[in-house]
């Protein structure tokens, strides 16, 4: 049974003084639990828009998105916010860590936002995760005191904080050099294999897509393969 399923997902954006622009046009796909899927495609093809829809950050204009049997398209903002906290982790192209908080505090944040555990438990979980991404010695560093690769590893740890069903990554290596790109992809693959973490990665880099278990190519708002 698939963890994630999209059925006829369409996304249109309003354009002032013109008909709506159709970004995605009836996309259907499914992702099994524990899969590592790369979503690829040329710039402007709609791959990031698709990821944000699958990750519950946006509402589709039409179609259904089922995550573990729950239809994201039918949820209101409040329900989606709760679902994102419980079941979805996001990694962005830029780390987007909160600059006033240490690495440890940044990773604790989704746990504290959920309000389901104590601060002490959140701290222990965040400490473990930073250890797993190789930053056990950088817990109290502020984002500006970390390298680009380290910042992205902290953001991966943050995305995993609430043990999400689905990890979404939007061009996670787009801002990194080759060596750091390798490390990040290695890390995502390790998480996928050792923790059976389902991973969806949007990338335009062939080297990343090649290492994924499956590639979904988006062209002109439609799934091409």
């Amino acid at each position: 049974m698939s963890l994630l399923e999209a059925r006829g997902v369409t996304k249109e954006l309003a354009v002032a003084g013109a008909p709506p622009a159709r970004i995605l046009d009836g996309v259907s796909l499914s992702v099994a639990r524990g899969e590592f899927v790369a979503i690829t495609g040329p710039s402007g093809s709609g791959k990031s828009t698709l990821l944000y829809l699958l990750g519950g950050l946006d509402h589709p204009t039409a179609g259904e998105i089922l995550l573990d049997g729950r239809n994201l398209a039918a949820m209101d903002d409040e329900a989606l916010t709760l679902l994102r906290n419980e079941a979805i982790g996001f990694v962005y192209q830029f780390h987007f860590l909160l600059p006033e908080f240490t690495a440890l505090e940044n990773v604790m944040m989704p746990i504290l936002a959920g309000g389901r555990t104590t601060r002490k438990e959140a701290m222990a979980r965040a400490r473990d995760l930073l250890g797993e991404v190789g930053l056990a010695d950088r817990l109290d560093h502020l984002p500006r005191q970390l390298s680009g690769g380290q910042q992205q590893r902290v953001s991966i740890a943050r995305a995993l904080a609430n043990k999400p069903l689905l990890l979404c990554a939007d061009e996670p290596t787009g801002n990194l050099d080759t060596a750091n790109t390798e490390r990040i992809v290695d890390l995502l693959l390790t998480l996928n294999r050792t923790m059976n973490q389902t991973v969806l990665v949007v990338t335009h880099e062939g080297s990343v897509a090649d290492r994924a278990g499956r590639e979904i190519r988006v062209v002109d708002g439609k799934v091409a393969s």
Binding site: S48, Y52, E78, T81, L98, P99, E100, L112, A113, N162
Partner: protein, 414 residues
């Protein structure tokens, strides 16, 4: 502290300089408001207290209100006092009987007869029109505070020297006389009477200090050609000066004589001071509102700068309510800390102003040597409440902006 509180505090601490400047803005607003409240309330209290102590709380006049009322309610009395025709009379005869009646009225502390004489005081080539009250010094001392307001000489000397006269401070100054000096008074009939200054008093009210004199009651009766037991009226002191109207109504009802109170005599001047105070307070409130824009400014800047952070927080599942709390806490923290600092500064400043020697000069209505600053807990309650309200209102715009922010619109730029 929860996550929203932690983020709010961290935002404020990382923007320390701007936070401090905003707090300073609110604090200055609160300080000015506390000081102004203290000043305006002190001014009106000072004026009322000075007026209350400068002359009798009420005067029972020789005039009688038309048709001696039998049963009156409060509204009727006001109507009679204001519009009722008075039976004209220039003197009370057998004032002792009326004095006993007034003294027996609940709320009346002391009663003293007086004979009012108008004339012109002359010393060399200086002239001043005056109102001289002929009094029994010991009785008058129980009705007004004049005996304790002597700057030179003694009030009781009026009963020791028949030709003694006590002058108001500004009157003595204008005539260039002091205790022991001789002076002459010309009455309405053009007769000249010699006096010797035995004292100078300061009531604190310009109009009194520049035109009021006291002489012995027997001398005043001689000047008027009146016999013993007559008086222009009765001056009385009441237990609660601010409830003088009630006592006055009761006296009118009981005696049928017209009664004048300190409130009636000074209604216009007190109303004018109250109006000025209100204008000042309104101006201060506007000043304070300006400091509220400081909070809006800071929060707007934070929201604009933190657009991506807010998007990330919402993306990771922080509710719109929690995001709202972040910025409300920031606004409230700036407002409350500013208000507390301002209240403390206001307390210090009003205490300092109250301690400094100050005079409005001889031309001022109230003569004083310092500014009376009052302190009431409600000043601080009002300022704190106003600051909190202001900071919440100032936060509304930025808070709504942050709460409505759609994460994907930030990440995708649409």
């Amino acid at each position: 502290m929860d996550l929203a509180g932690t983020i709010a505090v961290r935002h404020l601490l990382t923007r320390r300089r701007q936070s401090l400047l905003t707090i300073l803005g609110v604090a200055l607003g609160a300080m000015i408001m506390v000081t102004t409240l203290s000043l305006t309330d002190g001014l009106i209290t000072d004026i009322e207290d000075t007026i209350i102590e400068a002359s009798p709380h009420l005067v029972v006049m020789a005039e009688e209100v038309a048709g001696k009322p039998e049963r009156l309610v409060e509204g009727d009395v006001v109507s009679l006092l204001r519009r009722g025709k008075r039976a004209k009379a220039d003197r009370l005869k057998g004032e002792e009987g009326l004095r006993r009646l007034v003294a027996a009225e609940p709320g009346v502390v002391a009663v003293a007869p007086f004979v009012e004489v108008r004339g012109i005081l002359r010393r060399g080539n200086r002239f001043r029109p005056i109102v001289a009250s002929g009094v029994v010094p010991a009785d008058e001392a129980r009705v007004t505070r004049v005996a304790g307001q002597m700057q030179a000489g003694r009030f009781e000397a009026l009963s020791e020297r028949r030709e003694g006269i006590v002058l108001g401070r500004l009157l003595a100054k204008a005539l260039g006389v002091g205790t022991g000096d001789r002076i002459r008074m010309t009455d309405a009939e053009g007769r000249v009477w010699p006096f010797r200054v035995v004292g100078v008093f300061k009531s604190g009210i310009k109009n009194i200090d520049e035109a009021q004199a006291y002489v012995g009651i027997d001398v005043a009766r001689d000047l008027k050609g009146w016999g013993p037991g007559t008086a222009s009226g009765l001056a009385a002191r009441v237990e609660s000066p601010r409830k003088v109207a009630e006592v006055a109504s009761a006296i009118v009802a009981r005696t049928g004589h017209a009664v004048d109170t300190w409130e009636e005599r000074n209604r216009t001047i007190i109303a004018s001071f109250r109006r000025n105070n209100m204008t000042t307070l309104i101006l201060v409130v506007f000043t304070f509102i300006v400091s509220g824009f400081g909070i809006t400014n800071v929060l707007n800047t934070v929201v604009l700068e933190k657009v991506k952070d807010i998007a990330v927080l919402k993306g990771m599942g922080m509710s719109a309510r929690a995001v709202t709390r972040v910025f409300l806490i920031e606004g409230l923290a700036l407002g409350v800390v500013g208000a507390v600092a301002g209240a403390l500064l206001g307390y210090g400043l009003s205490t300092l102003i109250g301690a400094l020697p100050f005079s409005y000069g001889d031309a001022a209505f109230v003569q004083t040597d310092r500014i009376l600053m009052t302190q009431h807990p409600w000043f601080y309650g009002l300022v704190m409440g106003f600051s909190i309200l202001l900071s919440v209102l100032a936060s509304v715009g930025p808070v709504r902006k942050a709460a409505r922010l759609i994460p994907v619109a930030v990440f995708r730029g649409y």
